[in-house]
Subunit: 314 residues, 2 copies
């Protein structure tokens, strides 16, 4: 069913196509084509029947079919008006053996961030969990997490906002305060695997998009607040998926792009880890995703923790 | 039930103890103590009732209570005469929220190795999966896998056999042939987690212990074959758990011990990864578990793959 819809949308992207040609291409009856086309119309698509065939003239603002229409990478989108957590739903999808699925919701009712911390996910945001299985050893997964941060900043910049990355992958705007700016987006990566391979990887990306700041925590901001208008969430999610997928295909590109978008490198930082805290200068990020920090007496590589940008000591 | 048994065994380890004292210590009735003591007797323990109290004078060869008796670390042992795979059973244990459990079997009927490769696990071997949750970022898990290899070699050496480690954690004996020796034990590490923490880690350790080599693949050997006699599997598993747990507590010790036991460092090696193969000299192992290899034109760090020792080119 979803596969047929995806194939239909791909055929329609290319321009007008007749009912019989569609039936041929999808391997279904003309009656089934008609039914599918009507389902899209009920879903908000404007599809005109002209002499040359069916033509899409308008696409709904958001939703599974809207995101899939024109999407350049082979992801299936599962859309929810509301869901407890797209990552939790993503785990169900993963356990069913499905891969290359984006679980997208308009609202999350029991959203969670890193380390079970609460995460506010009101209506109008972009709450998207990508379920995939990169063919890399488990030790390379941090690079995929950085790629998700890069993809998010890239989509924000395409929408007109100069967001930046605080290690490992907080997406921030502005640079006031010790937290390095106001939080625009966050990423929660979950995985299962063995040393040689990943069974599934879920990259949950939460972006405060078309949301008022009074619905968000105090230190957060939104695309709406920063840009003064709503963004096209459909196009944003498409860019996110396309950009993330391109980096999975070309992992060598991730670190350079991360460095370009990062506001952490060169900064004096405090890193809080479960059993210790260090302070030092953030020198670089290194494969597969560790932050190289120079403290008073040594260099070390940190793999996870809370990073705070300290006031510059120049 | 298991907790009471564990507490009873701990009390008995310390020497003779009276029924009333046991009842006090375990917070159960004297009738319940008598029942538990009889259950141990039925399980093969010889427990004498003397004037000073209950005294353990003999312990069964193997089994949950036998391994727990005298075990210096707080692991619960779940023993099976036969199970499909101790790692598969370990995943069930993990999903029930239990941690610090060792699933031990006399035989695995559907045993699997790395990358779903078959693994022969006949009766008499040591098939043990440790279910735990180290408080480290997911990126540090490779170190726990190396620790499992070190613990296994350490237990083999305590049993009298000079085994060694081929990166990352194949346990081998002898050094004939390109494979670096005959395979004595293997380790399969599986995990689930997010970037900042591990939800569960299962370290499956398979040792060809009291097994004839004609039950094993051609390139494998067993402790029985190498030593000419059977080993004490109970003591072996105890040492394995104690040594592994000590390294989780003191991760800084792992790499030095790995280097000491390794036959890979200094060797010319071929590393087969999913999408490429490299050859070079194995220089070192570095935190959190990568092998540093010097090829003709560069140094690189490899995180997973099949390692083959090539014939020395000196």
């Amino acid at each position: 069913m979803n596969e047929t819809r995806r194939a239909l949308l791909e055929a329609l992207e290319e321009g007008p196509i007749s009912g019989p040609a569609l039936a041929d291409r999808l391997g279904i009856s003309r009656a089934a084509v008609w039914k599918q086309v009507n389902a899209l119309r009920e879903g908000g698509f404007t599809i005109e029947s002209t002499a040359e065939g069916y033509t899409v003239t308008d696409v709904p603002e958001y939703g599974a079919a809207a995101i899939e229409f024109g999407l350049a990478v082979p992801y299936t989108v599962e859309y929810h008006d509301a869901v407890d957590s797209t990552n939790t739903r993503g785990r169900e999808v993963a356990s069913e053996g499905r891969r290359n699925v984006a679980v997208v919701a308009n609202e999350q009712t029991a959203s969670r961030g890193r380390l079970e911390r609460p995460w506010t996910a009101p209506k109008g945001g972009i709450w998207c969990s990508i379920v995939c299985q990169p063919t890399v050893p488990a030790a390379h997964v941090p690079l995929s997490a950085l790629a998700a941060g890069v993809a998010t900043v890239s989509a924000c910049r395409a929408a007109g906002l100069e967001a930046h990355l605080k290690w490992p992958n907080d997406v921030l705007v502005g640079d006031s305060g010790a937290r390095g700016g106001h939080k625009l987006a966050g990423i929660l990566t979950e995985m299962e695997g063995e040393q040689d391979r990943v069974s599934w990887l879920i990259v949950g990306i939460g972006v405060n998009a078309n949301v008022d700041t009074d619905e968000l925590p105090e230190d957060a901001t939104s695309l709406r607040a920063e840009l003064g208008e709503d963004i096209d969430r459909r196009r944003f999610v498409q860019r996110l998926l396309e950009s993330f997928d391109a980096m999975l295909e070309d992992p060598d590109s991730v670190l350079d792009r991360w460095r370009e978008y990062s506001s952490t490198l060169g900064q004096q930082v405090r890193l809080e880890m479960p059993n210790r805290t260090i302070e030092g200068r953030a020198l670089d990020v290194q494969f597969p995703g560790g932050l190289v920090v120079e403290t008073d007496d040594r260099q070390e590589v940190v793999h996870a923790g809370d990073c705070e940008h300290l006031r510059a000591q120049r």
